[in-house]
Amino acid sequence: MTDPSEELLATIATTDSGIALIYQSLDALVEQFSLEDAAVVLEERQIGRQIFCAGRRPLSQDDDELLVAPPGLYTQPALEHDDFDRSLMLSLCVLALRLDVVRYDAWHDPLTGLYDRRSFIRLLEMAIARSNRYGWQFTLVVLDLDHLKVVNDTEGHPAGDAALRELGDRFRRVLRIGDDAARIGGDEFAMILPNTPPEAVELLMERVRSAEGFDRPCPSFSYGWAQIPGDATEHEELMKIADQRLYEKKAGR
């Protein structure tokens, strides 16, 4: 019989998802030892105590003990196999979750929670490759928060950060499934909008400006766009064209 901890150890370094690995391990445990249920309570440094149940199932009213349980592996019925290293499995589950959190942080901008520049370029390259291969259309939007320096100088950096965060929140609220947004520089944002003709971009930007649920008016921003197919076949050229249109708009004001 294979020890689930050994399987977890073998795959942890190569997996893309620690969360998936935790569930796989719990499910393997249930299957191999013919258990009714298994759950693990983990303590992760950044996101705190986390409960995972086999099968990714929601907690039920019968799970009250898990709510107050210390970190550990919990099974129903009790696991009585001495050859199974439960401490190792617990440690590896924490490591798997930690890797997910670190990976997430590595690809996201900590201020806005949007993708960062590196992730965005990777997404843009993938979108271009798909477009070149299948002819899929998308529009790239590059966007600048106006007057960030003035806000920082007159109201302080916390006010500037708040404006950046709010713009990120507005994008998250308005963008559709499949759209991607990123903060790619100090006051620069970018979006990939699949199946969106350039004429529809202004409509989307208007929805960003008029999104409800915010205490103050939308921070002022300017944008430029470029589309594929049509404008370029490489991401550097596409970004350059969108940037040019952005600066033309700013200069025309």
């Binding site: 893309d16 998802s17 969360i19 998936a20 303590e43 996101i47 705190g48 105590r49 986390q50 409960i51 995972f52 149940c53 990714r56 199932r57 929601p58 907690l59 039920s60 009213q61 009250d64 003990e65 898990l66 709510l67 107050v68 349980a69 210390p70 970190p71 550990g72 592996l73 919990y74 099974t75 129903q76 019925p77 009790a78 696991l79 439960r86 401490s87 617990l90 997910d100 959190v101 997430y104 998250r172 609220r173 963008l175 499934i177 409800e212 649920g213 205490d215």
Partner: protein
């Protein structure tokens, strides 16, 4: 990572989230989150943020269920029946006395509030309740403010089987409590025939959350009579 893994990680990163679970049903995906006993930041209420995150990741119909825990002194909580524990001894010392119970602190048969969700885009407000494991959703117009939350809560209780048709005499925000939570008072007429006005008061993460909780506080006292 697949979309569900990404979604789960993003949800677990929301402040206070301790567990996430998913239940595929015939016509929708139920996403359940368990939150610790903490106050949501006013500009980032967890139910709203969670709904938005789910909407970005999942195209099919979804429902987001938020279960909040309350903290009590450890001595007041019975020791949990331990099934099988593998835990470092040091970790066990830090266990907080938390237990999922209803908002009034009572263990009686009471409907419990799971979530109050506002959807400004569609001008809709949803109140999610649970009683004896049965979940219901009541809906009302979001732009009605506090009264919308009261109406949605009444609708959710009706879904549980209540045949009453009470109406709100008033729903007023009184003040913020020491934790900066909104406090709302509600007066209901007609919960039970020939009964005096029923009042409820409760604090919540937002005014509509508090309005739903105070409505529930008033109704829970009459639950045996109306169900």
């Amino acid at each position: 990572m697949n979309s569900l893994d990404d979604l789960e990680l993003e949800l677990r990163k929301l402040p206070g989230v301790k567990a996430a679970g998913f239940d595929e049903r015939e016509d929708m995906l139920l996403v359940q989150l368990h939150l610790g006993d903490r106050i949501d930041a006013p500009e980032h209420p967890v139910p709203i943020d969670a709904s938005r995150i789910v909407a970005r990741h999942i195209e099919e119909r979804t429902a987001v269920e938020i279960v909040r825990w309350r903290s009590f002194p450890a001595a007041a909580v019975a020791a949990p029946p331990v099934v099988d524990v593998t835990a470092p001894a040091a970790a066990a010392e830090g266990v907080a006395g938390e237990v999922a119970i209803d908002d009034t602190g009572s263990f009686g048969r009471r409907a419990r509030l799971l979530a109050v969700l506002a959807f400004p885009d569609s001008d809709e407000l949803e109140v999610h309740l649970i009683l004896d494991g049965r979940r219901t959703i009541g809906r009302a117009v979001s732009s009605s403010g506090l009264l919308g939350a009261v109406e949605a809560t009444l609708a959710a209780v009706r879904e549980l089987g209540a045949t009453f048709t009470p109406h709100a005499l008033f729903a007023r925000e009184i003040e913020n409590d020491a934790d900066e939570r909104a406090v709302v008072a509600v007066a209901l007429e007609g919960v039970v025939d020939d009964a005096p006005t029923d009042y409820g008061i409760a604090a919540g993460a937002s005014p509509i959350d508090a309005a739903a909780r105070s409505t529930l506080a008033a109704l829970n006292r009459r639950l045996a009579q109306v169900l």
